[in-house]
Amino acid sequence: MSSNQITNNIRKLRFENDEMTQQKLADKAGVTRQTIIAIEAGKYSPSLTLAFKIADAFGVPIEDVFQYQQQDLKTNNESES
């Protein structure tokens, strides 16, 4: 059975964007700071709409912010290499 995981670069992107605060990002995305904290820590997977809003706040495509990793594929790739 595979376990799927969504990783993100929000922390990195915030610092690349003039050290944008979590509150500022939250205001831009229309959510609370706690939600940004949860997403950043990988504890909450945002909806597609929110994911696009966050990407839009950084002015980058969504795939630069969020990455989808399938755990079993990753493990297979690692064992092959």
Binding site: V31, T32, Q34, T35, I37, A38, P46, L50
Partner: protein
């Protein structure tokens, strides 16, 4: 403190106050064997139904909350609804098994069961939200 936590605290305090006031009211009504209470009970039941409809609407629309808060609220509501369902089922069967198939129970037992079930499910709903946020805050630190 965000809006959902405030709302959960208000619900928790409100439900606790309702339990105390409701328990006092029912105890007095039973003690003094109050008759002609039907209009009052109808009013209370209409109020409960109105509160339930308002609550369901506010949970489904989630006005003022972001998607994660809505999800937390809906999950807490589902858990409290399951609790209410199991509470009613178990309470009814316990009464049935304790009193026996041919015995009767006082007429005030059913409304008391309903009110207690509703109020406890309210407390569970609020407690679930508060516990979830408390755990997240603990993780942050």
């Amino acid at each position: 403190m965000n809006r959902l936590i405030k709302k959960a605290w208000i619900n928790l305090c409100g439900a606790t106050a309702c339990i105390i006031i409701g328990a006092l009211g029912v105890s007095l009504a039973v003690k003094f064997n109050v008759k002609g209470i039907v209009p009052l009970m109808s009013f209370i039941i209409a109020g409960l139904i109105a509160a339930l409809i308002t609550r369901l609407r506010s949970i489904s629309t989630g006005a003022g909350f972001d998607e994660r808060e809505k999800k937390i609220s809906v999950r807490a509501f589902i858990i409290s609804s399951y609790f209410f369902m199991f509470f009613m089922v178990y309470a009814c069967f316990i009464i049935f098994f304790l009193s026996g198939a041919r015995n009767s129970i006082p007429s005030y037992t059913l409304p008391i069961l309903l009110l207690v079930g509703l109020f406890i499910s309210q407390i569970i709903h609020s407690a679930m939200i508060l516990i979830r946020f408390a755990r997240e805050q603990a993780d942050e630190q």
